[in-house]
């Protein structure tokens, strides 16, 4: 209590500035806003007073008076993952450049859905002018009540709600790209780690796209089902066995992490990559992967972030005239030393 009073006393207010500059509050406000004309001499006095007092305008009060916070919120899923880290960084920089003040809130991961709702409330309570949602769990039904109040752009996640503008990745195309790259290297017997949709929707979409494209092109596909969330070394061992048995000459993974797990196990057990088996992952984000030289499909995070910020800018300008769409971007394949021609058949 006394803290507040004290710091309230200590923090200079616009009135303080006005008084020490010998003008009215309105004038200080005008100088700060830079909109109306102010005599140069008074402006100087005001600026001087601001500097002298170390005055920082109270945005809370500004927002209240303007009925607009000038803030754009970002609901971010899991900062520990490089892909979200990069997305965060890109959104931040592009928003800055577009003069949108981005503030980020991360739902604490325990009890996902409740946490996301709470994080959403926090942002809405701050009366953000716009909202980026880069989170998996939150459903359309939680978003819907606020769509009329604040423009929402869903970023990097497949968007189903048609009141929400969506900018995300074309995971089907990515799956096709990975498949095509393996085919181009001459592989016809290929394992695909197929993540269950219950584990991860995007992973599952990628895997199914790989599988169907390979089949379309006449390759023999060996599905290895992944039904656990972790990386599960059994899958890698199973695939290594298939290589030794001569069943497959290549393997595609729906994420770089899973591919890396296989690489590690393959190396330990003396399997040569790409001599005996070619490997491709998907994501292309982690610099560690790049160093290792893992072939992959690079997700277009930068393009998605860029488009999302542009859309948000447009939405903030003229809300109603922009038709809501769900856009998808595709990345590019990254060939690498984990990819080679299939080994010659021994028999």
């Amino acid at each position: 209590m006394s803290e507040n009073l004290r710091s309230a006393t200590l923090t200079p207010t616009m009135d303080d500035v006005a008084r020490t500059a010998g003008v009215s509050r309105a004038t200080v406000s005008r100088v700060l806003a830079g909109t109306a004309r102010v005599a140069e001499s008074t402006e100087d006095r005001v600026l001087q007073a601001i500097k002298q007092l170390g005055y920082v305008p109270n945005r809370m009060a500004q927002s209240l008076a303007t009925r607009s916070s000038g803030l754009v919120g970002l609901l971010l899923r899991d900062p520990r993952k490089s892909a979200y880290g990069l997305l965060h960084s890109e959104l931040q920089q592009l928003s800055d450049r577009a003069n949108l003040q981005l503030i980020t809130v991360v739902p604490s991961s325990t009890e996902a859905s409740a946490a996301e709702k709470q994080a959403l409330q926090r942002l809405l309570g701050l009366r953000v002018d716009g909202l980026f949602v880069a989170t998996g769990v939150i459903g359309p039904e939680d978003l819907a009540p606020f769509l009329s109040v604040v423009p929402v752009v869903s970023v990097g996640r497949p968007e189903a709600h048609d009141g929400v503008y969506g900018v995300s990745y074309d995971e089907v195309a990515h799956g096709h790209m990975a498949a095509d790259l393996l085919l181009r290297h001459g592989h016809r017997d290929i394992a695909v780690l197929a993540t269950a949709a219950s584990v991860s929707v995007p992973e599952s979409v990628r895997a199914e796209a790989i599988v169907s494209r390979l089949r379309e092109r006449g390759a023999a596909v060996h599905r290895v089902e992944a039904t656990t969330f972790g990386i599960g070394a059994e899958h890698s061992h199973r695939i290594a066995d298939m290589v030794r048995e001569g069943t497959i000459t290549a393997v595609a993974f729906p994420t770089d992490d899973r591919a890396l797990d296989f690489l590690t196990i393959a190396r330990k057990s003396g399997l040569r990559v790409p001599g005996e088996v070619s490997v491709i992952g998907m994501d292309g984000i982690s610099p560690a992967m790049a160093m290792i030289g893992l072939a992959t499909v690079r997700i277009p995070i930068e393009a998605v972030a860029d488009r999302a910020v542009t859309v948000m800018g447009d939405l903030l300008e003229h809300r109603d005239s922009l038709p809501i769409r769900h856009e998808k971007f595709r990345g590019h394949t990254v060939d690498g030393p984990t990819l080679g021609p299939p080994p010659r058949r021994k028999s």
Copy 2:
């Protein structure tokens, strides 16, 4: 303009709630705060109205009235780096648990110092009650003016200012730990990649600590100076040459990234790890590194985050009674398959 008016109209206000519940604004406020006693029947009507209107209290207005935002700001350096990502995630979760509402701002990296000041302003403008600073560039002189207004906890960076509470890593100890682990494995001829302080202060501190501990213990140290910010493959090649010449049997790196670069190059050129050379990195954050099995020193990010949040809580409770300190935490060594005994001398 008209947007604002419209959404102002659309967003229900406390008055709307009061009106539809047939009570006064004060009563609604009391129900929300949960402090004062309210008759159960009125409380029900109010709750009902809140739900019906989809009312979200305007925190800006609350802050203004309470002179306290209930917010704690986090100034975060670079979300692309896993270490910062993990720190962000930990701070977020622990803050949640401590009932501190964390909001994060990332200075856009172009023109570091100016961007950080701007991000700082944004947070101060929001009148955060406390501030975590996890950023490299911002100097004490920029922080100083606000220390009397808001408690600041510097997290994960060496803190020099004695008005700022510091919670960070004991990088000297980490260097010693890495050195000791190599010695324990029997190595006596060891290369150390020594990053220049101008490139990265923490890296340089780590490297110098490794060097001095090794020398203290009588090992022959071969410094390889790194003066560029990137990972620089030349260093890795130089070290590989030293291995081939039989000059060294082990190498220590001040970061996992740099160690990984060497590992990749070593493998490509047919050097056996740890058969011919043992390798240790530092950080221990990236899951990719764990999979590869890189020996390292794990930085205690969780412990630092935990302590930082505790300190912030205390500071917010009783500002003046908590003496300002600079605490340092140490992590633990992670032995791994990149470490083995030195090879027998051929001659």
